[in-house]
Symmetry: C2
Subunit: 218 residues, 2 copies
């Protein structure tokens, strides 16, 4: 499988545009934990994921984190090239959550296509709208949902992504995903444990009762 | 002043595209309080504001509100035509905060331009990125700022918009802007009053000490 198979608008580009893209493309393998893009400090380019998983998050002045969204195989990361779009006035950090293989499209190459091609510009619109929708979902969670529901939703999502009920997650890591404090998460997980919903051990949360967790979330 | 003067990419459109737009355009005058767009229930079209002020907000299941952003003269409202962009998976309500005059561009007309024109698609990208940036600002406020700072910031913003320190605002209205409860806002404003920062009267908040309020906010 090559870039052509992963880039959804490939067939709609002119041969010359296709050549421009292929000539500029960089393939990268990064290890879990690598920071791929850091706020406004750099303009890395667009990232198209071949395998692996990325996390986009924001940081407070005090170093607190909250995950905005995750990106999986075939997803395109736009905000690592936010320099391309003048009106993007916020900073996200992009980190590899798993070992990841990806293609990097240099921002100046993509920007040239964006300016000349309605197809590329509309694709970019849809990408931005997808991320916007995920952030709006998060906004609703943060505004209207209590932390127990959010922890329940997060554990269920993790179990789905990892395809296991044994989640290798520290309380600190959960807090960083949800924009909360470790102490709050620890208290919540201990309550879940006392209700027989999870079992806690060092660096691990094991889901014992998925349906109770789903009831909590919904 | 006509539509041509308010639509920033007018000069970059072909004569035929200009004609299409002008032929389809609807001019509307709406009263303060009018709901112009209601979630996914309708696809009103793009709104270009000639005079007045709109508010975009989301609603919880329990009827709580939070303001996402405001739109002023010359601003274009994109999410009232969210049916145009498939990946927009959230619902906003758009309401006139003041008597407002605006042009409505029907969604099917704009969508046709969007698909054929890189200029229109890139303009739409910038619009979406602007709103995204405002929502990200709000997310940071909600996540990392305490309610006293947010109330301070809101009162200062209102004073700037209205160009007066005598703000006609109920505690309920402030709660609806900030996604909070009336009781929380009342408690906060009484604290501000006890510190000599504001004076409260029926349906009115008067700012007495702008610099104290700015200190609180920053």
């Amino acid at each position: 499988m090559t870039f052509q198979n992963y880039f959804p608008i490939w067939d709609k580009l002119h041969p010359q545009q296709q050549r421009q893209l292929l000539d500029a493309l960089v393939f990268r393998s990064v290890q879990r934990g690598t920071t791929l893009h850091n706020g406004s400090m750099d303009c890395t380019g667009l990232l198209l994921i071949k395998t692996g998983q990325l996390r986009a998050y924001i940081l407070s002045d005090e170093g607190r984190e909250i995950t905005l969204y995750r990106l999986f195989q075939r997803d395109m990361c736009l905000f690592s090239a936010s320099c391309m779009i003048r009106s993007i006035q916020f900073e996200v950090t992009i980190q590899a959550e798993k070992d990841t293989e990806l293609w990097v499209i240099p921002p100046e190459v993509y920007q040239a296509l964006l300016e000349e091609s309605a197809v590329v510009a509309n694709y970019t619109n849809e990408l931005m709208a997808s991320r916007f929708s995920e952030v709006m979902w998060l906004m609703e969670q943060v505004m209207w949902k209590s932390m127990d529901k959010r922890v329940a939703a997060f554990l269920l999502e993790e179990a789905l992504i990892e395809d296991t009920c044994q989640l290798k997650l520290t309380h600190e890591a959960i807090a960083n995903h949800l924009g909360s404090h470790r102490e709050v998460i620890t208290r919540m997980l201990r309550y879940f444990q006392s209700e027989g919903i999870v079992k806690l051990s060092r660096g691990m949360v094991t889901i014992l009762d998925t349906s109770k967790l789903e009831c909590l979330r919904d």
